[in-house]
């Protein structure tokens, strides 16, 4: 158990030292003294600090080795009129904290009277038990050796793989803290590690192709390096034999990563902040309305063991928990902060950031069939010759340019992708293409799911079949 909650009974010290980590009692004491000095009665604070080391390599040579010590504090202050101001800083010294507190108080004069955040009613509720082992950091030269070996092994997998232009092995020790003047105290420590390998392959007279893989773990020693190499190699090699695709409408099979990327890009559908701001496709009365095919289930579950580095609490101290968003194709709940929950008359859901206007965001999705439903078409297998006759199936492996090609407030998307055209069970990489559509159309055109749900960095999802999507080829 690495996340803690405590009462306000704290000793007095004069500050905290970023290099040594966050000292919750010291920060609380410092804030209380400063607040008294400046006549501030209500405040809260979110703080984080981390130490990171990372390496990148280039054809056997170290490319860049990096280390970082970071600290950050965001202070919110409620003024006598009940309006909120905020200030952020990387300076955790007493002088830095005081400047932040005074700055937040000054900014509160411009607080929004129509939408004022308050302390989360759940900021002192029990936190979930998370199995997040703290692993020791390894020397950076050990990281370098590991990555050099991984790169070499990946390059040896196929003669066409000439470089691994995007690669990195990183480890982090981090802490998060939430305090408020009503006595809430949340503290979480984490260690995480990540590995990514994106290879570039090129055959004579052919265009270069690229693909990769990512792995996350609580420590470097637990990273599935071999699996990452194998997946990066397999994906890259699978794109070497490519061809154009005719523009038209196809049944598409989204890989778990691709489907989760698409859902994530349109998460304003489930976001109460976006609903209240008028930029969501969902209206205030959308709860209980059909949104998707009647066998689709979608949850946000930051607590899933596959979510490496899951937060135990959000920016307002609300505990993270599993939330049903869509069940049986019907919209069940929105993601909430304290302020949006109050506006809807429900409890906060643990998805808030911290600010004068509090953002709301999803954590980790679970996609699959609704229990008790028929689950859509059964026995789907894009490798089966009988299921990819005619024009064939388009397997969408990874989507690109989501920041540019998604119009979340309109529902539309037009996105480049890497993938394969499968005909008669034979897959051939697609040279270059975009997929376009409307998210509501996608959610209502799901045919069914293929295979077991897979854990990815963004969530849990099986392959998802969607009919009649528009594909534009570069032919």
């Amino acid at each position: 158990m690495t996340a803690t909650t405590a009462s306000a009974n704290t000793p007095t010290t004069t500050g905290t030292t970023p290099a040594a980590g966050l000292e919750a009692p010291a920060l609380r004491d410092a804030l209380e003294q400063l607040a008294r000095r400046h006549g501030i009665g209500q405040w809260d604070l979110g703080a984080s600090c981390s130490t990171d080391t990372s390496v990148q390599v280039d054809r056997g040579e170290p490319k860049q080795m990096k280390g970082a010590q970071r600290s950050a504090v965001t202070v919110r202050v409620w003024n006598d009129a009940g309006l909120v101001g905020v200030t952020s800083t990387s300076d955790l010294s007493p002088a830095g904290l005081e400047t932040a507190l005074v700055g937040a108080h000054a900014a509160s004069a411009f607080g929004n009277a129509d939408d004022t955040p308050a302390f989360s009613p759940l900021s002192t509720a029990p936190l979930p038990e998370l199995e997040q082992p703290l692993r020791p950091s390894r020397p950076i030269l050990q990281l370098l050796d590991t990555l050099q070996d991984a790169e070499r092994e990946l390059l040896e997998r196929h003669g066409a793989i000439g470089t691994v232009p995007y690669n990195g092995l990183a480890q982090r020790r981090s802490e998060r803290l939430y305090l408020n003047s009503a006595g809430a105290c949340r503290h979480q420590r984490l260690s995480t590690a990540s590995l990514y390998l994106f290879a570039r392959a090129e055959e004579t007279g052919r265009k270069p192709r690229s693909a990769g893989a990512v792995r996350l773990a609580y420590g470097v020693d637990e990273l599935d390096v071999a699996g990452c190499i194998a997946e990066a190699a397999e994906r890259t090699i699978s794109h070497l034999d490519y061809g154009p695709i005719d523009t038209g409408r196809y049944t598409c099979v989204f890989t778990p990563e691709a489907f989760l990327d698409l859902i994530g890009a349109f998460s304003s559908l489930f976001n109460a902040r976006a609903v209240l701001d008028g930029v969501s496709l969902s209206g205030r009365n959308a709860i209980g309305q059909p949104l998707a095919v009647p066998f689709l289930s979608l949850h946000d579950n930051g607590l899933h063991p596959g979510n490496i580095g899951a937060p135990a609490f959000d920016g307002e101290g609300t505990p993270t928990h599993r939330l049903s968003l869509v069940e049986g194709g019907v919209l069940r709940h929105f993601l909430h902060s304290e302020a949006t929950a109050r506006a809807f008359g429900v409890e906060p859901t643990g998805h808030a950031g911290m600010g004068a206007k509090v953002s709301v965001s999803p954590e980790w999705f679970e996609v699959g069939p609704t229990p008790g439903s028929d689950g859509g078409q059964q026995g789907l297998d894009h490798r089966s010759p009988g299921q990819s006759d005619g024009a064939g199936l388009v397997v969408i492996d990874s989507l690109s340019a989501l920041h540019a090609g998604v119009k979340a407030s309109q529902g539309s998307f037009s996105l480049p992708f890497d993938g394969w055209l499968v005909r008669g069970g034979e897959a051939r990489s697609i040279e270059a293409a975009t997929v376009a559509g409307d998210i509501r159309q996608v959610l209502n055109a799901i045919i069914g799911f293929e295979g077991e749900a897979e854990i990815t960095p963004d969530g849990l999802c099986p392959h998802v079949w969607v009919e009649e999507l528009s594909i534009t080829g570069d032919a």
């Binding site: 080795m65 470089t163 701001d277 008028g278 600010g355 690109s400 340019a401 037009s414 270059a432 528009s470």
Partner: protein, 476 residues
């Protein structure tokens, strides 16, 4: 009341730091480093958001930090920290040295000759921050903008105005004798709307940015901006989706320059050379684009969003001709790029903050004006797409680029016809650059943000109207 509390003078980034920095650089040199570089910064930021007819967010932030980089041979180690105490900086140096297998030593002799007098680019900019608009004035201007949107627009469901002011003081010291200071002021402001009528929706935004112009918000033509946004939103509200396929395209000036930025500019950074991800690695002196294309990257244009007095490695920026009449002339290079690729530095070493090592990045990048009128370009197309306003874009590791079209029109028989939406342009740099066959005479620049290896930085893109003979348009 000022925009925010003044930046705390916890650290004076000036010549008084010279002895401390010299000690740090000497220690690194004595340990065996070829070169040690220290980047110090102080920042002061304010962000303001107006929605409908109220201010919904005021977000001040300030900070300090350092980035230390150590080179030995072709290798380097980089450490960033918020701890600017002597002990904190020495610990960061020790960590960076350790990445290269070096250790701090008690040896006094370092071979480091000390720093010269400070080159202070910031001395004339000391009053920039206090000349920026106060918060009352800033919020007032934004609310003026959202009110004007309400007056000019139809079916507007959401009206937003935003303003960001980023003040940064930097000091760079390196054991090659670099010792320079600068003050930067970047401001950006914008208006955006979401229009909705039944099932029809359009979302349109415009953003404007400047560097070194404390008066930008006061000089902002609110009416013109609101009018442009509302007209575009109204036009696109009922637009049909574009039909997909290969077709000629005419791209408007200003932010249309994102095509060169994504399709080619990134591939002319030595960062890409080092990765082996540019198809132009051995093409200097050879044609890579249509002879109609001359492309330039510079950091000098007065007030432009990507302009600098010095880069983040202390070098003064240049005007770099990248492509001249279709022939590749130069790559953009930083310190590491010069070391590893042999391409001389161009004052293009840039980073978002002390948390990133500098890398070769674009500044103000544009295609030069040509001889044609915009109307001539459109008249030359029988059936194609006119891209009046662009969204964002990106380029991948194989050189394939993409960008979205925010406001588009069909071209039929040499004339603009109906508006279309949902278009994405995709292609590969090697293939599309030779297809830019006509450049108009109406070069204009536009501010933007570019995210890459050294973080998100302010840049300018630009071009005159250009014609691409054939490009893949993704749509429905």
């Amino acid at each position: 009341m000022v925009v925010s509390a003044p930046p705390p003078r916890l650290l004076h980034l000036d010549g008084s730091l010279k002895p401390r920095l010299e000690a740090l650089l000497a220690a690194g040199h004595a340990a065996g480093a070829d070169l040690v570089e220290v980047f110090l910064e102080r920042t002061d930021h304010i962000g303001v958001l107006a929605e409908q007819d109220g201010i919904t967010s005021v977000s001040p932030a300030f900070g300090t930090g350092a980035g230390l980089r150590v080179f030995r041979g072709l290798r380097d180690g980089f450490v960033s920290t918020n701890d600017l105490s002597e002990a904190g900086l020495m610990a960061a140096l020790e960590q960076a040295l350790g990445m290269l297998g070096l250790e701090l030593t008690a040896t006094a002799a370092s071979g480091f000759d000390g720093l010269p007098a400070l080159r202070d680019h910031g001395s004339s900019k000391a009053d920039w921050l206090e000349h920026c608009p106060e918060l009352v004035e800033a919020t007032g201007r934004l609310l003026e903008g959202t009110r004007r949107l309400e007056q000019l627009g139809r079916h507007l469901q959401v009206r937003r105005g935003s303003y960001a002011r980023d003040w940064q003081e930097v000091l760079v010291a390196a054991s090659d004798g670099t010792f320079a200071r600068d003050v930067r002021l970047h401001q950006s402001l914008g208006l955006s709307v979401l229009a909705a009528d039944g099932e029809h929706r359009s979302s349109i935004g415009r953003r404007y940015g400047s560097s070194g112009r404390p008066d930008q918000l006061r000089q902002w033509d609110v009416d013109a901006s609101a009018r442009e946004v509302c007209e575009s939103a109204g036009t696109m509200l009922y637009a049909d989706y574009v039909e997909a396929g290969q077709m000629p395209a005419v791209l408007a000036n200003r932010f249309g320059g994102v095509i060169f930025h994504e399709a080619c500019g990134h591939l002319l950074e030595t960062t890409q050379l080092e990765r082996g991800t540019t198809p132009f690695a051995d093409k200097v002196g050879e044609p890579i684009a249509h002879p109609a294309v001359t492309a330039i990257d510079e950091g000098l244009s007065d007030g432009a969003f990507g302009s600098l007095s010095m880069d983040d490695e202390g070098m003064e920026p240049q005007r770099t001709v990248l492509i001249e009449n279709g022939v590749l002339r130069r790559f953009l290079s930083d310190r590491a790029g010069e070391l590893r690729t042999g391409h001389a530095r161009t004052g293009s070493g840039r980073r978002q903050s002390h948390n990133f090592a500098a890398a070769s990045r674009m500044r103000n990048t544009f295609i030069a004006a040509g001889p044609h009128s915009p109307e001539e370009l459109i008249a030359s197309v029988d059936k194609g797409l006119y891209c009046k306003s662009m969204g964002g874009g990106s380029v991948g590791p194989t050189g394939q680029f993409n960008f979205s079209v925010e406001e588009g029109y069909l071209i039929e028989n040499g004339q603009l016809s109906k508006p279309v939406k949902g278009a994405t342009l995709i292609g590969e740099a090697k293939e599309v650059m030779p297809r830019i066959s006509m450049c108009a005479n109406d070069l204009e620049l536009a501010a933007g943000f570019c995210g890459s290896v050294s973080g998100s930085i302010n840049v300018t893109v630009g071009q005159p109207h250009i014609k691409v003979d054939a490009i893949t348009v993704g749509g429905r």
